[in-house]
């Protein structure tokens, strides 16, 4: 058991192994994710019934909620990757953490934008300082901090470690931030409009939501793998396996990489 774990650990530390395995996995995630998204979105847009309060604008939920959930979990994943990297000095783990940052930030932006757009018809305003909204904004700022570290430090190894420290500290603080923002909002209670309470949703609205959430997670995996493989290629460009890989037909791999 222990030795098997150890072997797995060594494998995971190896860029070549990671490259090859994710090349295979990517295809599956891509296929499954696309099917889920397609069904979820078509169902949600065209077949699900309108909400009796919000009308058709509720269809934004199929983008908004997956993006929100995913951007939050992505931050945790980034921090865990950083922790693993720091503790066991595993370079692949740092790489994964590094590529998650921009993806997570893009999803946070998507959540904020779709939320703001949704807010206009429902609340009559683009933005309120509601607890959820505020903590999402702070999450985005946390992402920006991590990305800024990568931009500011040229030395790769140093940047990885520094960003790992920051994202770990940030993730320790996420519950504190979330709690304080929620608490603050209930205390002040001057924002007259609050995020709709989780509606006891009809299954024909709920199932497509589940589908798009799962679909987004699958695509997320594809994105992370693709960026990670790029980093590996660049880092290992001097090694023989990369040279060989490129020589026997990189054209094929470029085309089929997603």
């Amino acid at each position: 058991m222990w030795t098997r774990l150890k072997r797995l650990y060594h494998k995971m530390g190896s860029p070549k192994w990671f490259y090859e395995i994710t090349t295979r996995w990517s295809k599956w995630f891509m296929a499954v994710g696309s099917i889920l998204m397609l069904t979820g979105v078509v169902w949600g847009l065209a077949f699900a019934p309108a909400d009796y309060l919000q009308g058709n604008s509720f269809r934004i939920i199929y983008i908004h909620v997956p993006a929100s959930l995913l951007s939050q979990s992505a931050y945790i994943m980034m921090a865990v990757a950083g922790l693993v990297g720091l503790v066991w000095n595993m370079k692949m783990s740092f790489v994964v953490g590094k590529v998650i940052a921009p993806i997570g930030a893009s999803l946070a932006i998507l959540s904020l934008l779709t939320g703001a757009i949704w807010g206009k018809p429902t609340w009559g305003t683009w933005w309120v300082w509601d607890a959820r909204l505020t903590s999402m904004l702070i999450l985005l700022f946390l992402y920006f901090g991590v990305i800024a570290i990568y931009n500011a430090i040229e030395n790769d190894e140093m940047a990885n470690k520094a960003a790992a420290v920051l994202s770990i500290v940030g993730s320790i603080n996420i519950p504190v931030i979330k709690y304080s923002v929620e608490w603050w909002n209930t205390l002040h209670q001057s924002a007259t409009i609050t995020l709709t309470k989780k509606p006891t949703m009809a299954p024909e609205m709920f199932i497509p939501l589940m589908l798009t959430i799962l679909g987004f997670y699958c695509w997320f995996a594809v994105w992370v793998f693709a960026r990670t493989r790029n980093e590996i290629l660049f880092k290992e460009r001097k090694t023989n396996w990369v040279k060989k890989l490129l020589q026997n037909g990189h054209k094929k791999t470029t085309g089929a990489q997603l």
Partner: protein
């Protein structure tokens, strides 16, 4: 030589891309601290929005002033620039231009977004952007004097705000009240005219003063 300097400084700014965005980020963060610290009520926020945004812009510019001469001082480039066979004033102008492009101008573009988030009433957006466009160059120009005076100090970081905030105050007053005039639907042309005049004045005075400040700072 001045073109080369301009090119070099822009190159440096783009090379450290993070620095380009940081004043902006800071601006956004300061603006979003207020709802958290004061009250999230949109009605209420709307009344302080103009002031908050302008204070944020002031502080963001202030913090980015360090970039203007510091690193050139530390590695000896500034010495070299003062030894160029041209009036140091021109060199200062180039530096100010780059600082404005990098730290001032972007504020004018992002400000409407903050206006939205803080519930700024509709009439305020136009004067907000206009006042930022007119007044951020003033901030950079006056800032150059402060940056020049403090550049040689080992720990000048905190001194700068003290030196130049007082000079910034007219800008703050006229700019934020122009926005309030806009919100109330009244005319804000007078405010803009004042800002324009102040800009012209600083454009004449600041480069000379900043160049003198630099010479003093370097002749320890």
């Amino acid at each position: 030589m001045l073109m080369a300097l301009l090119k070099r400084d822009l190159l440096l700014a783009f090379r450290s891309r993070g620095d380009l965005l940081n004043p902006l980020m800071f601006f956004m963060m300061v603006a979003s601290l207020f709802p958290l610290a004061v009250s999230p009520d949109p009605q209420f926020l709307g009344t302080i929005a103009a002031g908050v945004i302008w204070v944020g812009a002031l502080l963001a510019t202030l913090l980015s002033l360090d970039l203007m001469f510091k690193s050139d001082y530390e590695d000896g480039s500034l010495e070299q620039m003062l030894l160029m066979p041209q009036p140091a004033m021109l060199m200062v102008l180039v530096k100010v231009l780059v600082h404005w492009l990098v730290a001032g101008l972007p504020l004018a573009f992002i400000a409407p977004l903050l206006g939205l988030m803080l519930g700024l009433p509709n009439g305020g957006f136009m004067p907000l952007v206009l006042s930022l466009l007119l007044a951020t160059p003033i901030l950079s120009l006056l800032g150059a004097i402060g940056a020049g005076l403090t550049v040689g100090l080992r720990k000048g970081g905190m001194l700068m705000p003290l030196l130049i905030l007082p000079l910034y105050i007219p800008v703050l007053i006229f700019a934020s009240s122009s926005v309030q005039a806009g919100v109330q639907g009244s005319d804000y042309l007078g405010h803009m005219a004042f800002l324009g005049a102040y800009l012209a004045l600083t454009l004449v005075v600041a480069p000379v003063a900043a160049a003198a400040a630099l010479r003093i700072s370097l002749a320890r």
